[in-house]
Symmetry: C2
Subunit: 221 residues, 2 copies
């Protein structure tokens, strides 16, 4: 765990996917989404070579710095460090959390994908700073992902107390179910990136996500 | 430049390519090639995800340690560091040498691909430990590579004095042309990996490569 990670940044977490941007520049979409309330950005690039991914990451680093939101790089610790990103997100096909922590020390916060209480405990033990839990709902973004739902997220949150974001099929209609289950926020791909108005889409999801978090905060119990 | 790099290790440098191994396990081929005289091994994996690449690198680390040859990882500084490899090799689509050096410090030696005197000077300036120069000859391994030949290698060696290995289309018949042009060794892919007897293939190339280096060493001038 490192000090620079603030779990409030998980509230509305945008994960990029070039294929869903329908030819529009990612930078413009990210800027619109942040204007609509996105609190953190993850750059995901599966098709680029290392040099091109680094250049994209550096451009996104400059943009997110200007916009005042943390930047997370998917999978690649080397690129996250070379681009000066704030964090790295590790899925099951990426470096193990221990290996990433050994490379990054305190220079990056580390997010880890967890699909079970057992995996969540292991990620916490290995030094992850937050958990990405999903899929919350059926999704077209990742066809190989099992839907585990908000109930598993609630169990993970209760078992670990870790900062946790729900991902997978989240949109304005169901985001409140995720935060009501104890998530610190929702991670979104297509429900923002594939919309004609990314800013309005982000605003609607944020409002829904906050709706289920606010009452708990205001509750004197 | 770091102390652990020994340019004599460039003499016969095997670069792996799973596709050329014709279904045979890489480990067995590497072991045979080292028995035949290979002095350094580079693991190249373009199709694997990070986790699988790391596992392969760790297995190759254990094998090369047992065989007593340095291990270099292609492209991925994160995997090289996490696997405890000796070096990383960076081509034009990989991290810039400066960025890799900033990540690796003195924990890895760094090889850089150079196809011109200008690129070689830049790589030296950026902190590379050796240069990979090619293609020496026409090759089927990389269809997008321009053949620059031993003459350009000679010009690079004279301009930079860097430890230099010639790569691309090198085999037992032409290896002496590369070392005669000033290379410290030859890097080989298919001329070892795609042969039924990798050990014999390595032995023949090493003999050819050494043939042009030995007289210069024995020369009292």
């Amino acid at each position: 765990m490192i000090l620079l990670f603030d779990k409030k940044r998980l509230l509305l977490y945008l994960c990029t996917d070039r294929a869903l941007a329908m030819g529009r520049p990612l930078a413009a979409l990210v800027e619109a989404a942040v204007a609509g309330g996105v609190t953190m950005v993850q750059l995901r690039e599966k098709g680029l070579n290392t040099r091109d991914f680094l250049e994209e990451a550096r451009a996104m680093r400059a943009l997110t710095k200007r916009l005042g939101v943390p930047l997370v790089i998917n999978d690649r610790v080397d690129i996250a460090l070379a681009a000066g990103a704030d964090g790295v997100h590790l899925g099951g096909n990426d470096l193990p959390v221990e290996a990433a922590r050994a490379l990054a020390g305190g220079r990056l916060f580390i997010g880890a994908t967890a699909r079970s209480v057992e995996a969540a405990r292991a990620a916490k033990e290995a030094g992850a700073d937050y958990l990405g839990v999903g899929a919350m709902f059926p999704t077209g973004t990742k066809s190989d992902t099992v839907t585990i739902g908000p109930a598993t997220l609630r169990a993970i949150k209760e078992a670990t107390g870790m900062p946790t974001v729900g991902i997978g099929g989240v949109n304005a209609r169901n985001a409140a179910l995720v935060t009501a289950a104890g998530a610190d926020g929702v991670a979104v791909v297509s429900a923002i990136l594939s919309k004609p108005d990314a800013e309005a889409a982000a605003r609607a999801i944020r409002k829904a996500a906050e709706g289920a978090i606010r009452p708990a905060r205001d509750n004197p119990e």
